[in-house]
């Protein structure tokens, strides 16, 4: 900063060096903040890059859960949810829904019988623009305890080193619980029979200002019919999509939204740890899926079901996943929208 005496005897060389140093320091601070000087910082770009299959990402598509089909419908809130959250979508009423049934794979052309985990992306639009988005999966617990663990899993599963998976499991024993589920739980033969779980914990706050940690699930009304992956594969690579389209065309399909409230001390920061089965459950309403549409022209294609898009009355908790997911989903979204030319559109542009 300039000295009080105007006619400083300092030579211009000294001043010029000082100016150069100030500018260089500014540039360096910026570069540091941007992570350019920290090659070890785990950035959302790295995570999204690591999701890419060996042949490269499916351009124009989601970088994970790339295969999916859109639907629209409504959420019928029964009013019970207001006991735990002041979210507008919980007040008794009916709210429009846009959603997406999907497969947890980065491959847009994966065969339905080859993907163990299925997902549901959902947007419920409350009054006054109070939007709630959530992206859930069929697994009852997540595969890893932390976002860093997720990155390690991606690296290990993409590694050519035959010991990489072993080393990963050594450092992330919680993964075995997930493997146990993946290898023993039955598969269903329809999206309509799947239960979708938030896994991540969130904080709900009611009108009285009382907060509780919660997780939620959408529980199907259709009874599950189990099928082996081999039999599912025999029905064709896109069976699940044609099946759900046919089923919904015959009759709307419904799920019950059940919110589980944690007891004090329940693990909220780790989605690999299930809560005891006796926790309070509040049934807040029904999801009714009324119309299924292909992703290409469907209303879900250009939405990002970012789990941190929450209405007032809901917030993130100490679970580190929603923040990490939000950062990664944004990168995925930015990439796929910039690749619009690569997406197999059947008509131009998306419908809002």
């Amino acid at each position: 900063m300039p000295e009080p005496n105007t006619h400083s005897p300092r030579s211009p060389i000294g001043s010029l060096i000082l100016i150069g140093a100030v500018v260089a320091a500014g540039a360096a601070a910026f570069a540091y903040t941007a992570g350019w000087l920290s090659p070890n910082r785990l950035t959302p770009v790295k995570v999204v890059d690591a999701l890419a299959p060996p042949g490269g990402p499916a351009l124009g598509h989601r970088r994970n859960h790339a295969k999916g089909i859109c639907f629209t419908g409504e959420f019928q809130a029964n009013g019970s949810g207001t006991a735990i959250s002041s979210a507008a979508v919980f007040a008794t009423g009916t709210y429009p829904v846009i959603g997406r049934f999907n497969l947890a794979t980065p491959m847009a052309d994966a065969a339905d019988g080859s993907v163990r985990v299925r997902g549901l992306g959902l947007q419920i639009a409350g009054p006054g623009g109070q939007v709630w988005r959530t992206a859930m999966i069929t697994a009852p617990i997540f595969a890893v305890s932390t976002p860093q663990g997720f990155y390690a899993l991606l690296q290990a599963s993409g590694s050519k080193d035959p010991n990489a998976m072993k080393a990963f499991i050594g450092g992330h024993p919680e993964f075995l619980t997930f493997v146990h589920w993946a290898t023993t739980a039955p598969w269903t033969d329809s999206y309509a029979e799947d239960r979708f779980n938030s896994l991540d914990s969130f904080i709900f706050t009611n009108a009285a200002g009382q907060s509780s940690a919660v997780r939620w699930s959408f529980i199907p009304a259709a009874p599950p019919v189990s099928i082996t992956p081999a039999d599912l594969a025999k029905r064709g690579p896109d069976y699940l999509e044609t099946e759900i389209a046919d089923r919904v065309a015959k009759a709307p399909q419904t799920w019950t939204l059940a919110v589980t409230v944690a007891n004090p001390g329940d693990p909220t920061s780790d989605p690999t740890k299930a809560w005891p089965a006796d926790r309070r459950v509040v049934t807040v309403g029904q999801l009714v899926v009324q119309k299924v549409e292909p992703e290409a022209d469907g209303p879900c294609r250009d939405l990002n079901f970012d789990p941190t898009v929450l209405p007032a009355g809901m917030a993130t908790s100490d679970d580190p996943f929603p923040a990490a997911r939000s950062a990664a989903y944004a990168v995925s979204y930015d990439r796929r929208t910039s690749e619009a030319a690569d997406y197999p559109h059947s008509t131009t542009g998306a419908k809002p």
Binding site: M1, G20, T33, D302, R336, G349
Partner: protein, 185 residues
């Protein structure tokens, strides 16, 4: 207009420094937030949006003050190309201060994200959902941010050059009161 004025008016100076702080904060928050997956990401995004909109509001006031009160003349002995560079860079600053927040807002609108300023208060969407438009706006917000920062470094260097090398009183036109009084000595 006030050709004889030797300094920017106090409200102009206040806004200049307040906005300089906010804009630098925005640029650092911006590049910081997009490079992390920790919970800081959400906190930074939650600051980025309302602070960016605050800048949009402040720049409207600032432009109005500039039109009302003008600016002190640059020193007569300043070479013409430098005068031109100064004027063009200031014009670019005003353009960026207006355009950057609008791009941020428009980019979120074109992606159909709710533009939440704070819990329960959303800005209206200013564009329909459109993938190509989102990509275009995202690119503009991204690249112009770096142009903005580069221009600030240049501006900083020029301001210090006036203050430390040329001693020509240009720095004093914008300096906070306590500094410029000393300068005019």
């Amino acid at each position: 207009m006030s050709a004889a004025r030797t300094r920017f008016t106090a409200p102009q100076r206040l806004l200049h420094w307040l906005m300089a702080l906010c804009i630098l904060a925005m640029l650092f928050i911006g590049v910081g937030m997009v490079s992390t997956i920790t919970p800081a990401y959400l906190t930074l995004v939650q600051i980025h949006k309302p602070l960016g909109i605050a800048i949009l509001i402040l720049v409207v006031i600032r432009v109005a003050l500039r039109l009302r009160y003008g600016a002190p003349a640059l020193p007569a002995d300043l070479p013409e190309p430098m005068k031109l560079a100064a004027h063009l860079s200031h014009l670019a600053f005003y353009a960026l201060m207006i355009v950057m927040p609008l791009l941020g807002w428009a980019m979120l609108s074109a992606a159909s994200y709710p533009v939440v300023l704070f819990a329960g208060f959303d800005l209206p969407s200013i564009l329909p959902l459109n993938d190509r438009l989102h990509a275009l706006l995202w690119d503009a917000h991204h690249y112009l941010a770096f142009v903005f920062f580069a221009l600030i470094l240049l501006h900083l260097a020029a301001a210090l050059f006036h203050a430390l090398v040329r001693h020509d009183g240009v720095f004093a036109t914008m300096a906070p009161g306590f500094l410029s009084k000393a300068k005019r000595g």
